[in-house]
Symmetry: C3
Subunit: 141 residues, 3 copies
């Protein structure tokens, strides 16, 4: 994982084989960032996607093992309710026939490259646990 800063925002590039979660944790430690909006593209494998079932208040997970193009990656970084920065990312991924799948991104491993734009928040971002769903929701109040 390498990153750059232009005085306002960050770029991140993952090396082939790097885990997204580890790379983001390292980025958070190195930059001390306290909130951000993310956008990304590239390639990935071992992509674990979730679908949130409101009735069960839980995610249904599936891992896509093959190499796919990361055709959209959108989300953010914010403190959770125990004071740890967590990422919340949703993504769309395309296979070698250009067919797409998508969902809540639990994890993935970078392919040839993975590029992220990190739009810094000028205020810390926070999440708070929502009892109705069990999720950590953005606390904007």
């Amino acid at each position: 994982m390498t990153h750059s800063f232009d005085g306002y925002n960050y770029l991140i590039r993952l090396q082939r084989g790097e885990r997204l979660s580890a790379a983001l944790e390292q980025f958070i430690v190195e930059t001390k960032i306290e909130g951000a909006w993310l956008s990304g593209l590239g390639a990935a494998t071992d992509i674990t996607l979730g679908f949130f079932n409101l009735n069960l208040k839980d995610y249904k997970w599936r891992t896509f093992g093959q190499m796919m193009e990361v055709v959209s990656l959108t989300g953010n970084l914010a403190y959770d309710d125990v004071g740890k920065i967590m990422f919340h990312l949703h993504g769309v991924f395309a296979d070698d026939e250009y067919q797409t799948v998508g969902g809540h991104v639990k994890g993935l491993v970078a392919g040839a490259t993975l590029e992220l734009f990190v739009h810094r928040s000028y205020e810390p971002m926070h999440r708070i646990r929502d009892d109705e769903t069990g999720l950590q929701l953005l606390d904007l109040t």
Copy 2:
């Protein structure tokens, strides 16, 4: 709908059950914003998607009633030709088998959460009616 401002840009969070159109109208009234670029993710139901048919100069609509992950939401806010701020959003949505659909977003109802990043424009954004298509297109001249 709650929103926050870091001095530069906004975050919006929709409550479960809120309509996107009503939330954005409220946001526009409360912030007096005159142009923005939007990015979002979350979950939604009752998603009405359009495909624009150039020959018919009209949209073909379909509503997806089930709960889906909002895996990408991209667009903007700008004045239309009668001076009302309108949203133009396209989205990608994933079902419980991670299969995706996409289109021009007419409306949706927030699921467990819907998070939007609103990148403020420092100049008002305007649309103008295009006679050839009947659409309101960005006026950047």
Copy 3:
């Protein structure tokens, strides 16, 4: 292609029938931009998508000739290793049944409209050739 600048970032609108590559080249010449993050939506036809095969170190291409909604477009502008600004964009596209395809975007022709938000980088962005993959990867070191 028309574009506007709010003092910080750019908006681009492609005319119906314009090629994305030509429009971006014109934009780069006119603005002298040296790095940017891009986000877009609209409609397009003649969309050539790639899937990068790591074993072959090459893309597999397919062109989708029909009109599709551009439901997500994400990427960036950066100098390549011979000093030419290149675009790196991935996209998701929806047909008239709302079904989606996605991939690395080699080219497309704008439909009724194509709208891009160009988030300027305050430092030039550079790519460097990666011998292992043959790709030009972001150089953030």
